[in-house]
Symmetry: C2
Subunit: 159 residues, 2 copies
DNA sequence: TAGGTAAGTCTCTAGTTGCAACTAAAAACT
DNA sequence: AGTTTTTAGTTGCAACTAGAGACTTACCTA
């Protein structure tokens, strides 16, 4: 069984995700975008990244449809970079990585804090959960081949 | 306010997390470790990574206490790499990234599938949630400075 | 039209990646 | 005991990538 698992490891979607987001500055640029930065010079002065690398990474993120690139109508020198739906979908990943850094590297809550706008209270920890919302640890989990699944997930979800 | 946010962006723990996990192969090695690989040659043949890079990355992960490195007692050539608690804590991040890749890059569920061992059903999507478990989207969120928080979170949590 | 600004591009240096061949040490065979 | 195999690396070298900073191009403002 362990052998079978090993044979199919390379079919995982992780390499595909890393193709888009695996470069050194990609997550930092993405976080800046989440924080409301939209222009080249903003990213550059905020992150302190070399201009050529920034240009290259922005182009790459646009190519992967994580950001859109659009010239502003009132000043056509200005290019606005905006998160797409696909880019916004990286929020849980980014928050998970940030929370891990807080807990295990810096040891203290990062600024700015991400809060629920409704009550201005900090969000909870990102966790792996079962289909019905129970939090799961590594010990509760199994790596299964498609043919070993208990049921078709969509059928049960519709119950 | 947006200006103030910008000034403190660099204090985020994301750079610290990326220091440990930002290298090209780090997540792939980590995923292999989550899948039960423990030895140099296993990582090498599974991932197809160059030997010098693998040696360097493993050393780096050990240095950051994400993996432990220990010679096996019955065959002291064999070095066993194992996830630490800190390493295991990267599971939500890795799963989030993988799920994103499934949804937005490959378009199909990856093999092997991560399931709840209790019922062998696939885990749910990784989401950002409020302190009391409501799922939040980007529109429900705010980036707040520490001084803008509604209450001390521990005090409310104890209610 | 002069001057400034936004978003790059170019150049050159320094560091990183990857392949292949080599080494070191422990175990296994003969 | 000596040779071979296995495991986990290291070394040397070519190709690629990152980084600092000057330069360019298009556009806006006075």
């Amino acid at each position: 069984m362990g052998g079978k698992i090993r044979e199919v490891l390379s079919e995982c979607s992780l390499p595909a995700a890393l193709e888009a987001m695996g470069e050194r500055w990609s997550f930092m640029i993405l976080r800046a975008a989440f924080n409301g930065l939209h222009h080249f010079e903003e990213f550059q002065s905020e992150l302190g990244i070399a201009r050529n690398i920034l240009a290259n990474r922005l182009a790459r993120l646009v190519e992967h449809e994580i950001l859109t690139r659009e010239a502003m109508p009132e000043d056509r020198r200005k290019i606005e970079y905006r998160l797409t739906e696909k880019g916004a979908a990286l929020l849980p990943t980014m928050v998970a990585l940030r929370q891990w850094g807080e807990r295990w590297e810096t040891g203290c809550p990062a600024t700015p804090v991400l809060v629920d706008a409704r009550d201005m209270r900090p969000i909870g920890p990102i966790e792996v959960r079962s289909w019905d919302g129970r939090a799961l640890t590594l010990h509760d989990l199994h790596w299964a081949l498609a043919e070993d699944l208990a049921v078709e997930p969509e059928m049960r979800a519709a119950e």
